[in-house]
């Protein structure tokens, strides 16, 4: 009996000592997968701060070209060469990885529910409540404007949709383009034009949910209004916009040839580095006259997940845990202005443009881009439908009603909630 007690004590001692000795001696190397090839320096600085806290952990940031990321990650998982930690796309793309058993269940990670809103957590959570990703990055959307040009032409920051169009008209009358946007790169019309302004016309999160649960049809008056808004903007886009790329658009704005640019917060670092010789800022997409509620497309873009088969789950979890802290949020927000951490305690953001962007969130309804949740899971997917039809409206080849009818008819082919609607 005494012998047994000694043995148990001895065993307890060994167990207690093991982690300490291990961490002192063995260095653990983790790899982090990402699609943010532009952020290598910033992410390495962020990781350095983590490594300072946990000197025995080394993390290598190993990004893949954005268009190849999903396919690369999938094949890495299949061949057992996936990174230990990885950026996760929002909604169904990451959900599918979890469903295939590649992502670890991190529901019991301390600090999750304190750090993040339920809406943010739900993006990387299954319907049964299994959390497989830590909410990480949001990008915001709005209207960049040339402050000097606005002052010179006596244009006030628009407070209604009608004033926005009037401002664009004033710019046009004075020989400027109202908006620098163009459709040479089709995705820009989907992500920074249509889905930027759509929440204002469909009523943000609640409105979007009404489509997803079948209460609304995708060709109802709200959807038509969203496409109509694209038609409203069309006259103020640059001439021959069909052949102008994203880069052309950015330059048109930066050269002061356009007064406004419907854009995303991720452009802040680029715009700052280009140092245009005028002052610029952002405002939120204004609501049509008579509508009280305003909305901002605040898109939950990336989460962080953990490989279910990682050899170092404890160390990987330490990093995920660190991501829930205010320290992380503040570091991240200031290293990458324009990319916002999802921590509920909004950090102090030093960069004035990024701070201006995040300030738009106050008093406005926030929602993700319309097509992301639910609508990407079949063919034809909601994203492509919105993109192609918004471009067709922009070019005047179809009416907003036809665009909404196409969207409804396309989604009704596979999206059940849309199947009880009259065909377009």
């Amino acid at each position: 009996m005494k012998k047994l007690l000694v043995l148990i004590l001895l065993a307890a001692l060994v167990v207690a000592m093991a982690p300490a000795t291990l961490s002192a001696q063995e260095e653990v190397n983790l790899v982090m997968g990402s699609w943010r090839v532009d952020d290598v320096a910033q992410m390495e600085a962020l990781i350095a701060a983590f490594e300072e806290k946990y000197p025995h952990i080394r993390i290598t940031f190993d990004p893949t070209n954005p268009p190849d990321y999903n396919a690369t990650l999938q094949s890495q998982f299949e061949t057992g060469t996936a990174p230990d930690l990885m950026y996760l796309r929002s909604f169904s793309v990451a959900r599918q990885l979890y469903n295939q058993g590649f992502l670890a269940d991190i529901s019991d990670l301390p600090g999750l529910s304190e750090a993040f809103s339920d809406q943010a957590l739900s993006v990387w959570r299954t319907e049964d409540g299994v959390q497989y990703g830590v909410p990480f990055i949001a990008v915001s959307h709005g209207v960049y404007y040339n402050v000097d040009l606005f002052n010179e032409l006596g244009i006030e920051v628009p407070e209604t949709w009608e004033e926005l169009l009037a401002a664009a008209q004033t710019l046009k009358d004075n020989g400027y383009d109202g908006f620098a946007n163009a459709s040479g790169d089709p995705w820009t019309i989907a992500e920074i034009v249509f889905m930027n302004i759509a929440p204002t016309f469909i009523g943000g999160y609640e409105g979007r949910m009404a489509y997803l649960n079948g209460e609304r049809c995708f060709n109802d008056e709200h959807a038509v209004a969203a496409f109509q808004a694209v038609a409203d903007l069309a006259p103020y886009f640059p001439a021959d916009q069909q052949a102008l790329t994203y880069y052309d658009s950015q330059q048109i704005f930066l050269m002061g040839e356009a007064g406004m640019w419907l854009g995303g917060s991720w452009d802040i670092p680029f715009f700052e580095s280009e140092e245009p010789d005028f002052e610029w800022s952002v405002f939120a997409v204004p609501a049509p006259e008579g509508q009280e509620e305003e909305y901002v497309t605040f898109h939950l873009d990336a989460g962080m997940g953990m490989n279910a088969a990682t050899e170092h789950p404890e160390e990987a979890r330490l990093f995920l845990e660190w991501m829930t802290t205010a320290e992380f949020a503040e570091l991240f927000a200031n290293l990458l202005p324009g990319f916002f951490p999802l921590n509920q305690q909004a950090p102090e953001i030093e960069n004035e443009h990024a701070a201006a962007f995040i300030a738009l969130n106050e008093g406005r309804g926030l929602d993700v881009r319309w097509a992301w949740e639910g609508l990407l899971d079949g063919s034809p997917d909601g994203y492509t439908l919105m993109q192609d039809n918004a471009i067709a409206v922009l070019n005047g080849t179809i009416t907003p009603q036809e665009a909404a009818d196409n969207l409804q008819a396309g989604l009704a082919q596979w999206f059940e909630p849309a199947q009880n609607c009259p065909a377009g």
């Binding site: 396919a71 069909q242 052949a243 102008l244 052309d248 063919s379 034809p380």
Partner: protein
């Protein structure tokens, strides 16, 4: 080792009865090439064919579905419309290359074959230089030149007082594919030029001299003597253009992007295949290997029938082995 050497020597006919081993010697020479070809060409091709009967997520679709991928591709409007659009565009792409790139190539070669032409080597280099440039570079260059906002061509037309000559070709569904095809023709015109030039130089001088003595004009010599003798080269250039164009991807991807804008008007089989099998549609980016393999197989069948038809045709004319 010795055994191998001995065997090879015998096989090569250095010992014993050499009629039968000689036949085996051919096999010995064929084996390395056959092995390389099997591993790197035949196997992937057959595997891709096999893949087209499967469906599933990721690199290795596992669920056997028979001909369903082909049925989807050819009958489901979702796939069908894009596929036939891309197929049609590829034929136009090929047609423009034949009409512009190869015709110009023949013209340039005829001019360069004139030994009296001043600055012949300079022209030859100038015509060939684009073919040595990266596709990304030429695509970027031409996008800049054709840019409707600050493009050089627009500035040039304005300078000479004809701004109405400029059109935003790259943004126009009717013209974008033509513009891209012309850029590609511009880049590659040097290759057919060199092949035609080699063919023309190979034509014995006696023939043209005899014709000249008989009183034929330069044009008659070209039309009646040089062109018929050049026919095998023309055939080979045509088939290479056909193969190259049906596998083309880079120039459209670099100039217009993976979606073939505006409104899929520059979408060719290469970009369609890329979106289907490799990248997936943005932003889902979940490729469908099965349908992708079906697209690849259909493309292969089209290429194969083209090449076979050409072989039969040229064999009928007894062209094989001539010149090239």
């Amino acid at each position: 080792m010795m055994a191998v050497l001995e065997h090879s020597l015998r096989a090569l006919g250095f010992a014993g009865d050499w009629q039968a081993p000689r036949r085996r010697a051919w096999a010995l020479f064929l084996i390395p090439a056959l092995a390389v070809y099997t591993i790197f060409m035949a196997y992937p091709l057959l595997n891709s064919l096999r893949l087209s009967f499967y469906t599933g997520v990721g690199l290795r679709p596992t669920e056997f579905v028979g001909l369903q991928n082909y049925q989807q591709l050819l009958t489901n409007p979702l796939w069908k419309d894009r596929f036939f659009n891309a197929l049609g565009n590829t034929f136009i792409f090929f047609g423009i290359h034949m009409a512009v790139q190869n015709t110009l190539g023949l013209l340039f070669a005829t001019l360069l074959a004139q030994t009296t032409l001043f600055g012949r080597n300079l022209y030859r280099s100038v015509i060939f230089i684009p073919a040595t440039m990266s596709v990304l570079l030429t695509a970027f260059l031409w996008r800049l030149i054709l840019n409707p906002r600050w493009g050089m061509l627009k500035a040039l037309f304005e300078e000479i007082g004809h701004p109405e000559w400029f059109h935003s070709w790259l943004g126009d569904e009717k013209w974008a594919l033509v513009a891209v095809s012309l850029v590609s023709s511009w880049q590659w015109v040097g290759l057919p030029t060199m092949m035609f030039l080699a063919g023309l130089i190979n034509i014995p001088d006696e023939l043209t001299e005899a014709a000249r003595v008989d009183g034929a004009s330069a044009f008659q010599i070209w039309l009646r003597i040089k062109l018929p003798l050049l026919r095998p080269v023309i055939g080979i250039v045509a088939i290479l253009t056909f193969i190259g164009n049906f596998n083309a991807f880079d120039v459209v991807y670099a100039m217009m992007g993976a979606n073939g804008p505006p409104n899929y008007s520059t979408d060719i089989l290469g970009t369609f295949f890329y979106r289907t099998a490799i990248a997936g549609e943005h932003p889902v980016a979940r490729p469908d290997m099965g349908i992708g393999a079906a697209v690849a197989t259909v493309t292969f069948v089209i290429l194969m029938s083209g090449v076979v038809l050409w072989l039969l045709w040229s064999r009928g004319k007894g062209d094989e082995g001539a010149v090239l």
